[in-house]
Symmetry: C2
Subunit: 341 residues, 2 copies
């Protein structure tokens, strides 16, 4: 076994868009687990939009990522040394070991997973954080009633794809919004959504409004927001009375500079009274209590082949910064992972 | 008894601000009640901001007021002729007879009230629609937990004054926002709020933010919005994690012309994720089921002297248009009524 560990640290905070030189590669010793700790060889890293928020200083929904520290992030891997009775060498675990090849963690913050029915990488996707995020916003905030229309943006992504398939499994009308004909095709033909709006096909906000209206002839009862910008304002204009809007992400505003106007600024707040809708922001890590229930439903659907997903896999640690920048620009297709083993 | 009835009809829709010539006075015969109907002599008219929305054509949260028809609105009065066994001459009733001296209504949409413990006009105020509106937004949307801070705009008004007093009765920190030292003085000294921010004392949005911050040292957990504009955006910036925002009115945007940018546009929607707050628009008429419970609590507090209120009373039907325009401009102090008897 090697005794050297490669890792990526935050070298500087982005000034607007993220660039490769915000990151620095380092080679250090593989850490030794202390009593109650476990050493994990990382098989897959998860890259997620929330990481962009943490790269900024100042108040956000998570503490800022420290400079010169290993970039934080979700991982799956295999235990290669254990000083905790709950874990044995060879156990597969989900954890937050960050952008590195090997990591040590306290046993109590690792979660053993059973990859006999579901591939290991799914625990970073539809059976992991993105899937549970979709489940929470869909089940607990949108909570649709029979016959309702549920719309989700970034519909081909790791979270959005699960939202729409949960809606279809419940018999709702599921409408996706995605960028480009390839993604929209996937959303309708492979994932089984009723319709998908290609927002890149609209040249103007008015055209976008027409496309969304055509896809939602009975209006919108539940909206799961991952993106923001014009899409948000357009969907708000289609809301039915007592609609619910779950705000999971506003990726179009994560690169704003201080003082820059938000692209997702809500232009017509009087809609709150016209449609008496409810809009709620959430972060799944506030709701760890629902995790087991959500994972049970999601792995069940996965094992039955009723929950499809796609992965966009970058190969090797060196490819990580570029894959992350691509994710923020919407260039990935499906859950963005980096394979290390 | 006179056989002539004076009334005010909508003569034209406003182009921006409401003007007196949007209204026309008419004198017609007092109507005869049909079987199942009741004839009421109106004692008080209620003037409310929602009427402004109904004066516009197009989609709003209520159907538009028809041209050349009697202006719609809440009233209290006395039965002077009845063709329904449930009502006798002399009964006091709340109804929606509109801007006129006499009106006929189906018995089933009138509500008998007991004015032995509480004055008749209170059933248009703290024991009527404004009071129940405050109760719903406070109890059902904000639903505060011990030790929380509740902020309400238009705090000296018919709705806002009840919100803050309910919060104080529950032991919360209640902070009002109102225009001018006289109103703020009333909110703190007479109504017993912990603090009141005079938004007119702020020359800039930054100064407004400073004043609101000083009044909410522990942040804001519940916000009851009547006004909108800079005040809304400033309070959103003070929200604590899991805060609730009840949107009851956005009076600063009711006079907008088509295409005009909303003063209440939500400038920093990423706050939905930073604070994971919930924002919900509501209209009390959607929730008639809670009316008896709300009126019971409100009349109890009123009879015990624990719920104070103030009325701004215009005298006679002729004074109605000017009183309504004054209400929209914030010139009233307390619930705006017109006394006809």
């Amino acid at each position: 076994m090697t005794t050297r560990n490669r890792r990526i640290v935050l070298a500087s905070r982005p000034d607007g868009a993220v660039t490769p030189d915000n990151f620095r590669f380092e080679t250090v010793d593989v850490p030794e687990p202390a009593e109650g700790q476990v050493l994990v060889r990382v098989h897959y890293l998860s890259l997620d939009p929330y990481m962009r928020g943490r790269m900024n200083d100042g108040r956000s929904y998570a503490n800022p990522q420290a400079l010169d520290e290993t970039m934080v992030g979700g991982t799956v891997g295999e235990v290669i040394a254990s000083r905790d009775p709950g874990f044995a060498v060879g156990d597969k675990v989900v954890g937050n070991l960050g952008w590195q090849e090997y990591g040590v963690a306290d046993a109590k913050i690792l979660q053993k997973v059973d990859d006999s029915r579901v591939p290991l990488s799914a625990f970073l996707g539809p059976a992991g954080m993105p899937g549970v995020t979709a489940w929470y916003g869909y089940r607990k905030i949108i909570a649709p009633k029979a016959g309702e229309t549920v719309v989700v943006s970034a519909a081909s992504g790791a979270v959005g794809s699960v939202v729409g398939q949960l809606a279809k499994a419940d018999g709702m009308r599921a409408v996706g919004i995605a960028g480009g004909p390839e993604k929209c095709d996937y959303v309708v033909r492979e994932l089984g959504f009723d319709a998908c709006v290609d927002y890149k096909a609209a040249q103007t906000p008015k055209e976008l409004a027409r496309l969304i209206k055509e896809a939602t002839p009975d209006g919108v009862d539940g909206y799961f927001e991952n993106v923001g910008g014009d899409i948000l304002n357009t969907v708000l204009g289609r809301l039915n009375t007592f609609a619910r809007v779950a705000v999971c992400g506003l990726i179009s505003d994560y690169n704003n500079k201080p003082g820059e106007a938000a692209k997702s600024a809500i232009q017509n707040p009087v809609m709150f009274l016209v449609a008496r809708f409810r809009m709620e922001g959430f972060i799944v890590s506030d709701h760890l209590d629902i995790w087991p229930e959500a994972v049970r439903e999601l792995t069940g659907l996965l094992a039955e082949g009723r929950l499809k997903y796609r992965e966009s896999i970058a190969e090797g640690l060196d490819a990580t910064p570029e894959a992350f920048i691509g994710l923020l620009a919407g260039r990935n297709f499906g859950k963005q992972l980096v394979r290390l083993v």
